[in-house]
């Protein structure tokens, strides 16, 4: 059942131009940054060869791209999650899902799964770009894997927050703006957390992601993301359930 809902969601996403525009925007933007980094690397390559312990190709080209990908997800995920629940409510199609013999948990999980599939699509484009460097040099596979894994967790956390916000309103645009505002809030927390001992570090999604960018898959960071994802999925299910009871 979860898969049926996920497939339906993906079909709706790709039936509208939005999914295609988002994919094109993500790819165009990241490709630009990637090319610029490769360009810079070519120029400073000679200097690096003379330096001891110099950063490698992966650190200089691929990792900055992942840093940018974080910002790109921050901006594009609200656009993808905004309509997931709010539009069902707005068009009164929620009744179809609620009257079907499926649970609220399955509905939310189906929608979340659709987002994960979409994220994997974005990630595979990014991974493809990274691996293209294999044509001219050797790259650090472990580092790329840590980055991809971190970005997936980040995207999933953003998606679960986006889905929850989408449960709160019947206007997709309101949902998008609210979600973006919350992501911006997290980003600002990251900027404010200059002191490494501050508690702000602890809650900042971007600081958590920095560990993955350095190639560390640390248990506290993974746990943090898993907790955020579970919490907001749980909130979404509760929200839909409570609407049946009180709305």
């Amino acid at each position: 059942m979860i898969i049926v809902i996920a497939l339906k969601e993906l079909k709706s996403m790709f039936a509208s131009p939005l999914a295609w525009v988002v994919l094109a925007f993500v790819q165009g933007f990241l490709a630009n940054i990637f090319l610029k980094q490769v360009d810079t690397f070519m120029i400073i390559q000679a200097q690096l060869a003379r330096t001891a312990n110099a950063p490698g190709l992966t650190e200089l080209t691929i990792v900055p791209m992942f840093g940018a990908a974080q910002m790109v997800l921050l901006m594009s995920i609200p656009l993808l999650t905004m309509r997931l629940i709010s539009e069902e409510k707005r068009n009164q199609t929620m009744a179809l899902l609620v009257s079907a013999p499926i649970s609220m948990t399955q509905i939310i999980m189906g929608k979340f799964l659709a987002m994960v599939v979409f994220l994997c699509l974005i990630l595979s484009l990014i991974a493809g770009m990274s691996l293209s460097l294999l044509a001219g040099g050797s790259i650090d596979m472990g580092l790329i894997f840590a980055n991809l894994f971190g970005l997936l967790l980040l995207g999933m956390a953003f998606s679960s927050i986006g889905i929850f916000i989408s449960c709160l309103t019947t206007h997709p645009v309101v949902a998008a703006v609210m979600t973006l505002a919350i992501f911006m809030g997290f980003w600002v927390i990251g900027l404010a957390a200059s002191d490494p001992n501050s508690w702000l570090n602890w809650v900042s999604i971007s600081k958590r992601f920095e560990g993955f960018m350095d190639g560390y898959i640390a248990l506290p960071d993974v746990t943090f993301f898993v907790v955020v994802i579970t919490l907001f999925i749980f909130f979404s299910i509760r929200k839909l359930d409570s609407e049946r009871l009180s709305a």
Binding site: M1, K8, T93, A95, L96, S99, P101, S103, R244
Partner: protein, 316 residues
């Protein structure tokens, strides 16, 4: 479970729904036998939709219980919902999907066996006259056809109970006739609840009727009961040489005379035991009033509502 319970496909008892302090539905009970069509009738805001939302599990009742084919909707919603097909007021269609894609999705959501999906889709389309629209985007269909897609959606999994909220709204007269005969057909194998504010519609297709007013049941009877209630309530007469209203009132006892326009009157409050029609014709001949028209008017929806609700007020 007793023998009587087996034939009941749906039983809802003492349903009450409050929105804060506002009581939307209070103490509504429904019993539906297999192959029975019940009409829920009521003016706007009477609580028809709320009742239907509760029966389909879209809204939790504040009080009361619902069981579908003996399965409690609140304890075991997933099993119970599998036996219900529901068309809400606004057809729950995805405008970006084609009719076929949409029905396939619905069939899967309702756990129709993969092998049977094709057949189920064809059946549902045939019953609702959608076969030629299979490849059309739902968003490009007219309101009437979207309504049919909504009905197809409600019957695709052959549920025991079909619940239709105002199924004929927005359809043209031909479509209304088609949909009504479709509902009658459905009633042979399924139990059907439909809501409407059109009285003749209920008379045409339902076996029994419940009339709701301000969230309460004010009338609950077989369809014959409603017919009797409606008929013989008033007649409309017109004359060439019209007598005055006072004259009519004095000559005909136990009748309320209200003028409609010049020389046309409505006689209401008629008593079936003491029908004044015969006397009226006799008087007209004797007094040379020149009776030109005599129509036995059935009470309209509004009159039935007014009568029921005022009667209700008197009792309480």
């Amino acid at each position: 479970m007793t023998k009587q319970d087996i034939s009941l496909t749906l039983s809802a008892s003492a349903l009450t729904r409050k929105y804060g302090n506002n009581v939307a539905v209070s103490d509504v009970s429904l019993k539906l036998k297999k192959g029975e069509i019940i009409g829920l009738l009521g003016p706007n805001g009477a609580g028809k939709s709320t009742t239907m939302k509760m029966i389909t599990g879209n809204l939790a009742p504040t009080e009361g219980s619902i069981s579908v084919c003996g399965i409690d909707l609140i304890d075991d919603p997933i099993l119970a919902k599998a036996k219900i097909g529901y068309l809400p007021e606004i057809p729950p269609v995805y405008k970006e999907l084609r009719v076929n894609e949409y029905l396939k999705l619905v069939a899967r959501l309702h756990k129709v066996k993969p092998k049977r999906i094709r057949l189920a889709i064809e059946n549902a389309k045939e019953k609702t006259g959608l076969t030629e629209m299979s490849q059309r985007l739902i968003g490009s269909l007219s309101k009437g056809f979207q309504q049919r897609v909504g009905i197809a959606q409600a019957i695709i999994h052959e549920p025991e109970v079909v619940i239709l909220d105002e199924p004929t709204v927005g359809l043209d007269p031909n479509q209304i006739i088609e949909i009504r005969s479709l509902i009658k057909d459905l009633g042979e194998h399924h139990s059907v609840i439909l809501s409407t504010h059109i009285l003749p519609e209920v008379e045409a297709i339902c076996d029994s009727v419940q009339i709701l007013h301000k969230g309460k049941v004010v009338f609950d009877d077989e369809i014959e009961g409603l017919r009797q209630f409606r008929s013989g309530k008033s007649i409309q007469v017109s004359f060439r040489n019209s007598p005055s209203q006072e004259m009519l009132e004095s000559r005909l006892t136990n009748v309320k005379v209200s003028p409609i326009r010049e020389s046309v009157f409505r006689l209401s409050g008629l008593n079936t035991d003491d029908d004044p029609t015969d006397k009226l014709v006799q008087l007209s001949v004797d007094e040379n009033w020149g009776l030109t028209e005599l129509v036995g008017a059935q009470a309209s929806v509004e009159e039935v509502f007014v009568e029921l609700t005022t009667r209700d007020n008197l009792e309480t």
